[in-house]
Symmetry: C2
Subunit: 220 residues, 2 copies
DNA sequence: ACAAAAGTGTTCGATATACACCCATGT
DNA sequence: ACATGGGTGTATATCGAACACTTTTGT
């Protein structure tokens, strides 16, 4: 039937991390047209017999060398005209990785780079809109779930955790209230160790009791 | 490249309404294989140059005669093996319609029927899973947004509104607390009219001041 | 007068918010 | 000793939860 087309299906990924106490996202530079040299979200075509979420994980690893992470589906963008080459349906995933991730330029020689959110370059396709969407999701998720663990290393201080929230929300929160609230949730396990070596009082380290997804009814 | 396939893209819709103070969803009966005679979500293939959300609206209208409604994207299901005919990526939309909707059997002579959620038949494909997903979304949305307007007629009583919440959540709520909360949100406009004609004290009618989507930080 | 649903307030506990000072370490 | 961030408590306001009786209509 002429009426139906077979659109291409791609899977893209928005990855966030906290680097230098600022929220950053991963972009790759396009080597060919369309949008040659423009920055874009990592992504690519779906392979045969590949689950959607697996494709997202694979693209991320291939193009940016990013491995262990939190992945969930964000949204599907598929309006006509979003790719000049033809009809493309893009299923976008949303990923969180702990702070200091080494990026290897991808196997296909595209360059990958962490960009501070708020200082982004012009993006290819409708990727700016997609990023805005992802950012809204991140802010919301941080409020009512415990996903913050995915942005932190195994061991962290309460100040580290607070800085994650501040970076994502773009505003300061009160230290005493933050700690009271976060400890009352009972999701953290205080460790015996402290972080030493700075010119200051050592800070107690914590880890998450569980990394299972938990929905809280409200969070700050 | 052999490695990439061109999957088919379909758009399905989960429609909810409140009928007889119970939550219902719309299903159509399949006329051909696979899953002949089984009940399934309304849906179909994406047309050329058609937006995803437009496809959802069109399918709903074609197959069930349902018009004016609330529509948002729910999730995309695309794992291999979910359709025996081959790789199919299904973008699922989520719709809400006000209570008494006349259903015309669709143009392709499939029968359409409202089923009470909780008394559903066996479903085709992975549609049971999809419905579970949609139900979770509905429950959550009702908590933190004002989408309840989409399940009600233009004018309604506070008891009508309360019954929407009770039907979706499957539990009773306290009338005094419900009214206090709902009125304090300031989203309702009390009308001069009352609903009369029953053997009882007439109830004041209300309408929503706005049907714009509003996100509340918390709701019940 | 009766049946049926409409309408209405108060008390109590939990939770959010605002706010300032001492502590432990490295140099 | 000093600079740096770590760590802690209290008072107030707001919000959610529990709870029962009177009012208005149609028959």
């Amino acid at each position: 039937m002429v009426k139906f087309e077979s659109p291409k299906v791609t899977v893209d990924v928005v990855v966030f991390t906290i680097y230098n106490n600022k929220l950053h996202t991963l972009l790759i530079q396009r080597k060919g047209p369309p949008f040659k040299d423009r920055w874009a979200l990592p992504g690519g075509f779906l392979e045969k017999n590949e689950k959607l979420v697996a494709a997202a994980g694979r693209e991320l690893f291939e193009e940016a060398g990013v491995g262990h992470l939190y992945l969930e589906q964000l949204y599907t963008f598929g309006d006509p005209g979003r790719d000049p080459r033809g009809r493309v349906i893009t299923v976008v995933y949303f990923a969180l990785v702990p702070a200091p991730v080494e990026i290897s330029a991808g196997s296909d020689a595209k360059s990958a780079k962490w960009w501070q959110v708020g200082k982004l370059p012009n993006l290819a396709f409708d990727h700016k809109k997609i990023l805005g969407y992802a950012l809204a999701r991140l802010r919301a998720k941080l409020e009512y779930t415990n996903v913050a663990w995915a942005l932190l290393p195994e061991k962290f201080t309460l100040t580290d955790l607070q800085q994650v929230y501040e970076a994502v929300w773009g505003k300061k929160v009160d230290k005493r209230n933050f700690r009271k609230k976060v400890l009352s949730l009972g999701l953290l396990k205080p460790l015996k160790e402290k972080r030493t070596g700075l010119h200051q009082r050592p800070a107690r380290l914590y880890s998450f009791k569980s990394k299972k997804k938990i929905e809280l009814r409200r969070f700050f």
